[in-house]
């Protein structure tokens, strides 16, 4: 179908709004166009966080010379023609918005050669107007280059995050589409460095190996619900393999990457009680259903969908995953700590009045001198002083102690580092890789010794001494995820300290000896902010002697 302008009544039905929020939005739109054009190879380049340059080249059907200028007009598309088509969208694009929106905020060059076209054409646009047009040849396909994003929009430019963050968004987007289209060969170059290179052989597991590492790929379980309606296919992690962030859940609806709460919930519910709270699975799933069953026209960036029967979608996804997990060999589940009962009304929560955000040099807060009475549910320490009873959350309390210790060691340049007998392999996602490349020094300063080992694999040779146990590779990935977003350097250091403290602290469910409990209390007494954990939650709750006497009816 050739490119045509949509009629105003169709246009009025399309969700309007900002299409280009950041460099990654451009990558998304251009990649989607390439995929709609049937490309089997898509090469993406990003320079200077995607602000200086983004280039997407494909070997798809190309744009006929006669249509090329029209493609940059608003509401010009070859993908739908009337309102009825809006009900059954089977392409990634349909609004005719992407190219003109990009042209409005950046300079563009296109070279394209369409199937059956005699020569290729070249077009250059500035401020949405064509400044150059000529014949140029190229093998079939399209290359679009976007220069100097937001050059005329300093306010928008200021809104962007650091280059690292923008790069990590780009890497993540390419990863997602690579996972959705295993038969397409994706290559991503960030500032000239190859960040992603998928084989394009149609095998999802091979793409997962490229994005999340071979070890992960080998463990993933295939979900094949091709006969279900909707049909659910993809790979999910066994219960024994989990991550500490939600960033490893990828969903595609008719192969479009979406962030949809129904799907998130379905997947997480399927893993409920199989993995620890606070942990998340790795999921790569395509949900495929007739186009009439979904409405993609809900968000201007097309990153969410509405399901006509979301209950059925929820149930089918949850069931497909659950069935697969149950048929897998039984995982070794780490003991889950019993859920804490909601605090009864008579308890005053010590942290409540002032849930202080963690500060770097906090005012000291006094803590009572406590006598340990015992341990409750392997999770709480019972202690008393003359004023009454204290219940102390052992994990939160230990987190607090370690958090302050880490920051103190760090500021005194006196970090304690333990060498590893045998280095541990860490596979990073493209996004984590970007973060490590730019912020690796920071991890170094906290006692990690990480060496490149080719591609996105690294060797961990030493760790902060206090973290010794547990899955160290996963701890590093969690850390990288936690510092991917931008913020003040000081805040970033706190995040690292938080993450290290959380990894290393005793867990709820660990039974402690009397000596260990006394030691923990002793150290908590010395903490600057003993009453809250680094996340701001209380470490202890207090039941006063008066409250006790009142409850037992001894006084009124």
């Amino acid at each position: 179908m050739s490119i045509r302008l949509l009629t105003p009544d169709v246009v009025s039905k399309i969700a309007a709004g900002e299409v280009v929020e950041r460099p990654a939005s451009i990558v998304k739109e251009l990649m989607e166009n390439s995929l709609d054009a049937g490309a089997t190879q898509v090469t993406i380049e990003s320079q200077g966080g995607g602000i200086n340059l983004i280039r997407v080249a494909d070997n798809g059907s190309g744009i006929p010379a006669s249509d090329l200028e029209l493609a940059f007009r608003r509401h010009a598309t070859s993908k739908i023609s009337n309102s009825a088509d809006l009900e059954k969208i089977s392409t990634l694009g349909f609004r005719g918005e992407a190219l003109p929106s990009i042209a409005a905020v950046a300079d563009i060059e296109v070279i394209t050669q369409s199937t059956g076209g005699i020569t290729g054409s070249y077009l250059q646009l500035r401020n949405s107007t064509v400044v150059k047009r000529e014949r140029r040849s190229r093998p079939r396909g399209t290359t679009i280059t976007v220069h100097q994003l937001f050059r005329h929009f300093p306010a928008r430019l200021k809104f962007l995050k650091s280059l690292t963050t923008e790069n990590s968004h780009v890497a993540n987007l390419v990863s997602q589409y690579a996972l959705s289209y295993p038969e397409v060969k994706f290559k991503l170059y960030i500032d000239g460095r190859q960040a992603i290179n998928t084989p394009g052989n149609g095998k999802l597991r091979d793409v997962v190996a490229e994005v999340y590492g071979l070890e992960t790929a080998q463990q993933m379980l295939a979900v094949d619900g091709a006969r279900e309606i909707p049909s659910i296919t993809g790979l999910v992690s066994p219960a024994s393999l989990c991550r500490s962030s939600r960033g490893y859940l990828s969903f595609f609806v008719n192969r479009r990457w979406v962030r949809n709460s129904t799907l998130f919930r379905a997947a997480e519910d399927a893993y409920q009680r199989l993995i620890m709270t606070g942990k998340h699975p790795i999921v790569v799933l395509d949900v495929s259903l007739p186009p009439q069953e979904i409405d993609i026209n809900v968000h201007p960036t097309k990153t969410d969908v509405k399901f006509r029967s979301s209950q059925i979608v929820y149930a089918t996804v949850a069931k497909s995953i659950r069935n697969r997990l149950v048929s897998a060999p039984l995982p070794r589940v780490e003991p889950i700590a019993p859920q804490a009962p909601p605090p009864a009304m008579l308890w005053t929560r010590q942290g409540d009045e002032a849930p202080q955000p963690p500060t770097f040099r906090p005012e000291p807060i006094n803590m009572p001198i406590l006598r340990v009475v015992g341990q409750l549910a392997s999770s709480y320490i019972l202690a008393e002083d003359p004023t009454g009873l204290f219940l102390i959350d052992q994990h939160a309390a230990h987190e607090r102690i370690l958090f302050e210790k880490i920051l103190a060691q760090r500021s005194q340049q006196n970090v304690e580092i333990q060498g590893l007998l045998e280095p541990i392999n860490i596979d990073l996602s493209p996004k984590q890789d970007e973060v490590l490349k730019t912020r690796g020094e920071l991890l170094n300063g906290f006692g990690f010794n990480i060496e490149p080992f080719g591609g996105r694999t690294y060797l961990l040779r030493a760790v902060p001494a206090m973290m010794k146990s547990g899955d160290l590779a996963e701890a590093v990935r969690t850390l990288l995820d936690s510092i991917a977003i931008d913020e003040e350097p000081l805040r970033r250091e706190e995040k690292i300290a938080q993450s290290l403290a959380c990894h290393s602290a005793v867990k709820a469910g660990d039974s402690l000896t009397g000596e260990e409990m006394r030691e923990l209390i002793r150290q908590l007494e010395q903490a600057a902010q003993p009453k809250t954990c680094p996340h701001g939650r209380p470490t202890m709750i207090h039941l006063s002697a008066q409250q006790l006497e009142k409850e037992f009816g001894r006084i009124r």
């Binding site: 070794r332 780490e334 210790k405 340049q413 006196n414 304690e416 580092i417 333990q418 060498g419 590893l420 007998l421 045998e422 541990i424 006692g447 010794n449 030493a462 001494a465 206090m466 010794k468 146990s469 547990g470 899955d471 160290l472």
Partner: protein
């Protein structure tokens, strides 16, 4: 079932098998102990599905039978009885015990519901002296990992080759290797990984009655049987590949210090009091003595606010002066299992692994990764 046996025998057997009773379990019957006649003996067995322990005692059997009863209850009760004959009688699912002037009945669960204890017959078969096995377990099992992020490291690798046996355990920061021999050569070279916990249990109930222990591994290498005179333990084996540890043992050293073990351990313990606040860092400085005289090793630790401790021990030093820091616990753990009077500490650089070996025997090597500190 009707029989009689001695209280002391029953008590001992219960204390052995109860090590395999499940503590928290989704399968309630695994909190029971199986009591069954076996020819002219009484067999007791318990399993937590990872290990199973069976124990036989002499009994006068009048009528055969089997039942399972709550292990804790029976153990507690039996231990309070006088050391006399106990008459045991089973009617339906109730076990009656009569001893001296006490009588009790305990309701049990059908023995048929008890998880079958795997038979381990085929595969490799060998025998080892009791003391050799005990030493081996003792010298390596503490180095195994205690948490599950890499399951193979929670086990001890047993490598059989002819009449040689190598036990090895590692947790990512240290490695312990013990070389010993078995009494009957194995037919084929075999390596298995036994959960360290299971071996520690085993070494606990090796008694003077047992001169040797028979070890049988099944063909699939999924289970191993350890057979003593009156006790058998079956353990599930950990599947996976144990790290190739031989490449982790440094072949050369730049500095070698030979010290008296007791003095060394004492100095480490003193330092570790001061190292307690942090990650237990102790620093060691080795200084060779001038011309053929003994050198010394300084062992120090400091704690913010509390102070500093410096201990000194005499040392025969071969090579360069050296500095290295370790987690105090790692050093005291290994010194605690060496029986020889002297040990050698070998180092190359302050960031490469240190090696500790007993002096006078060559059957043990321990490798510890240092901590990286500012000097």
């Amino acid at each position: 079932m009707k029989l009689s046996c001695l209280q002391e025998n029953l008590k001992n057997a219960l204390s052995i098998v109860s090590r395999a009773v499940a503590t928290r379990s989704t399968l309630p019957i695994t909190q029971n102990v199986l009591i069954a006649t076996d020819g002219s003996r009484l067999k007791l067995a318990a399993t937590n599905l990872e290990i199973a322990i069976s124990c036989w005692i002499g009994a006068k059997v009048e009528k055969e039978g089997a039942i399972t009863v709550p292990a804790r209850l029976l153990t507690d009760y039996t231990s309070l009885l006088p050391n006399e004959k106990i008459d045991i009688n089973l009617t339906k699912n109730t076990l009656h015990l009569k001893c001296a002037r006490s009588e009790t009945s305990i309701n049990g669960l059908d023995a048929a519901d008890f998880p079958p204890i795997p038979e381990v017959t085929d595969g490799i078969n060998t025998k080892i002296e009791r003391e050799a096995l005990r030493d081996g377990i003792n010298q390596v099992s503490f180095a195994a990992a205690t948490e599950e992020s890499r399951p193979v490291l929670t086990g001890v690798q047993l490598e059989f080759d002819g009449d040689k046996l190598i036990l090895a355990a590692a947790d990512g920061f240290r490695l312990a290797v013990h070389y010993t021999s078995v009494l009957t050569p194995v037919s084929a070279k075999t390596a298995i990984i036994v959960p360290a916990k299971a071996l520690v249990e085993l070494s606990r109930f090796l008694s003077d009655q047992d001169e040797s222990v028979e070890i049988i591994v099944n063909q699939q290498k999924s289970q191993a049987l350890f057979r003593l005179k009156n006790v058998e333990m079956v353990s599930q084996l950990i599947q996976g590949v144990f790290p190739n540890y031989s490449q982790l043992i440094p072949q050369k050293y730049a500095t070698r210090a030979v010290v008296d073990l007791t003095q060394f351990l004492q100095a480490i313990k003193m330092a570790s009091i001061f190292a307690r606040d942090g990650s237990g860092i102790v620093r060691m400085e080795m200084t060779p003595g001038p011309e053929m005289t003994a050198g010394k090793m300084n062992i120090s630790a400091r704690a913010e606010e509390i102070g500093e401790n410096i201990g000194e021990v005499d040392a025969l030093i071969d090579g360069e002066p050296a500095k290295i820091a370790f987690n105090a616990k790692y050093v005291s753990d290994v010194l605690g299992v060496i029986k020889q009077k002297q040990v050698a500490l070998e180092t190359t650089t302050s960031s490469s692994p240190g090696v500790i070996r007993p002096i006078g025997v060559s059957n043990y090597v321990h490798v510890v990764m240092p901590m990286f500190v500012q000097w």
